[in-house]
């Protein structure tokens, strides 16, 4: 009875998210900046999804499963978390388009020189691979429980394919911006590693929260999650700090790129940048350190929330700020534009957030994601 009520409640939230998105789409307006909050929004979801799968599954390719196989127990949770997080990413991309219904034209008129076209292909491939991995994991555990053994080579092959596709997804996403010469702050080699490390941080943060909430009665796994994802958050935050420093140092010697970065350091976006910096580079890693040292689940949840906020803010700044200040065709002429989040965009973003939360919850309620849970209905539902 409680489970049915929970499922209905989650479905209501899911529908509310879709309705908010539809209302937002009808209220969308053209502003001075082409790519607003919905772009960092979909990047946030895509990078969180890919990062969650990478930090949880890729270590098994190198033979690491945790000190006593804990990562193996988190496999199905990570796969659903990643697949469920890609869906709101699609939602935001589609509603950011002026003609969402014509989206399929990307596949029909596929332009191989366009990074956006490749994004559509890679999103689809990643989603399909994640779902296949998840189904295989559920069915394999079912068969193992029945005394039948499955081939572990399949798991390794699927994980390998997933890892490659997810890395391609993040790298290509960075090059959606990297190939654009209009805004020199985007046009740097630093963008790929920044995106990959941010993805690790976001994925570890997302999983940190999801594992603690969904496995609250399993001390072994939650303590491992606090330590493992805590270490991931600390290391990725440090590397990201180094990479952003590199980006700013190289931009310092390029007046066109510096125009954008100086907006973050001392211009109109500086308050947002420094607040996010203190949160993401100082407070969150410190709290993550407590989580690692004491295997404290409250600390990992707190650190994860801060890192998710920080990660989104960094993506927002990287996408929006370069579009607001850039050099024109005549030397010395600097264009300045103002970006303010529109009501339509805000509704779509909130809708995406609700869809994300409800989908992750729905998967937890319907799918056998915990180690001891087995499929009872239609081979995949518990």
């Amino acid at each position: 009875m409680r489970r049915s009520f929970a499922i209905i409640s989650v479905l209501v939230v899911l529908i509310l998210g879709v309705i908010l998105g539809a209302i937002g789409l009808s209220k969308k307006e053209v502003g001075e900046v082409s790519w607003g909050i919905l772009v960092p929004g979909y990047m946030f979801f895509a990078m969180t999804a890919a990062g969650a799968a990478l930090v949880t599954l890729a270590p098994s390719l190198f033979g690491y499963e945790g000190s006593s196989g804990e990562l193996k127990s988190l496999r199905k949770l990570a796969l659903w978390f990643a697949a469920g997080t890609l869906i709101p990413s699609w939602f935001l991309i589609l509603l950011d388009l002026s003609r969402p219904a014509k989206f399929v034209d990307i596949f029909i008129g596929f332009n191989p020189s366009s990074r956006i076209a490749w994004m559509a292909a890679l999103y689809s491939m990643t989603f399909v691979v994640l779902i296949i991995e998840l189904l295989y994991a559920i069915i394999k555990e079912e068969r193992t429980a029945e005394g039948l053994t499955g081939k572990s080579a399949w798991v390794i092959t699927l994980t390998l394919i997933g890892t490659v596709v997810e890395l391609m997804l993040i790298s290509n996403l960075s090059q959606v911006f990297g190939v654009i010469q209009t805004f020199p702050a985007w046009h740097g080699a630093y963008l790929v590693p920044i995106f990959i490390v941010t993805s690790f941080m976001l994925g570890a943060s997302g999983m940190g929260i999801f594992v603690v909430l969904s496995m609250k009665n399993r001390e072994k796994e939650t303590k491992f999650a606090a330590s493992y994802y805590g270490k991931m958050i600390i290391s990725s935050s440090l590397v990201l700090a180094l990479l952003l420093f590199w980006a700013m140092l190289s931009a310092y010697f390029d007046p066109e790129a510096w125009a954008s970065f100086s907006q973050m350091l001392k211009g109109s976006y500086s308050a947002m940048f420094w607040c996010a910096g203190v949160l993401g580079f100082l407070i969150s890693p410190t709290v993550a350190g407590i989580a690692v040292r004491r295997k404290n689940t409250t600390a990992i949840v707190a650190s994860s929330i801060m890192s998710l906020l920080f990660g989104f803010t960094i993506l927002y700044l990287i996408v929006v700020v370069p579009q607001t200040v850039y050099f024109d065709v005549l030397a010395g002429v600097v264009n300045e534009r103002v970006y303010s989040i529109g009501a339509g965009e805000l509704l779509i973003a909130v809708g995406g957030l609700l869809i994300w939360l409800s989908l992750i919850s729905l998967g937890y309620l319907l799918l056998p994601l915990l180690p001891e849970e087995r499929a009872k209905k239609l081979l995949i539902f518990k």
């Binding site: 053209v30 034209d105 990307i106 020189s113 010469q181 209009t182 805004f183 065709v329 002429v333």
Partner: protein
């Protein structure tokens, strides 16, 4: 097969903005009547952008799409909606294919595209009315109305065309050539 290009002679331009108004009234008549501006450039709905340099030596350029041979807008378009018309050499948009991702607007290093607040789709030179004129062998509106003859439009592959003669006899420049976009918009600097 022709390869159309533009020439803008800054030394002749009297900055009357007749080209800007002609572009707007003919290509975006409904925007003019309803007073709907170009939200990107903060001007009336037009494909011609005013670039003003007021520090140091003052300079003003009236720019539109540079009709690049290696157009970044074409490269980034995921559906192939932005393309180079092989029979004219002009960069065009097939609105049947356009999904409105705005990648072309972002990718144009000349800031020559804008998003129409009514259709929510990218716009650029040439507008539909100008295209119809060119198909009939006439000059685009901006060229036709210029009182100072500061604008030229024609076949760059025809050595006898007015634009080719002007390029051959005058020192011209192209903007942001270092990007490798091969623009077909020539400028005589004033």
């Amino acid at each position: 097969m022709v390869r159309y290009g533009f020439l803008y002679d800054e030394s002749k331009c009297i900055a009357c903005l007749a080209c800007v108004v002609a572009c707007s009234t003919n290509n975006y008549e409904d925007h003019m009547s309803e007073n709907i501006p170009n939200p990107y450039w903060g001007t009336l709905a037009t494909n011609i952008r005013v670039v003003l340099k007021d520090q140091g030596r003052p300079e003003q350029l009236l720019l539109s799409c540079q009709q690049c041979e290696r157009a970044p807008c074409v490269e980034v378009c995921p559906t192939g909606a932005s393309y180079i018309n092989k029979s004219t050499g002009l960069v065009e948009i097939n609105y049947e294919k356009c999904i409105g991702c705005k990648a072309c607007v972002t990718a144009c290093p000349y800031n020559a595209r804008w998003v129409d607040p009514i259709k929510m789709l990218p716009m650029k030179c040439m507008g539909e009315a100008c295209k119809a004129r060119v198909e009939k062998g006439e000059q685009p509106f901006c060229v036709a109305v210029c009182p100072a003859e500061a604008r030229l439009f024609g076949d760059l592959d025809d050595p006898n065309s007015e634009i080719s003669k002007k390029i051959a006899s005058t020192k011209t420049t192209r903007l942001k050539e270092a990007l490798g976009t091969e623009p077909k918009f020539y400028i005589v600097r004033g």
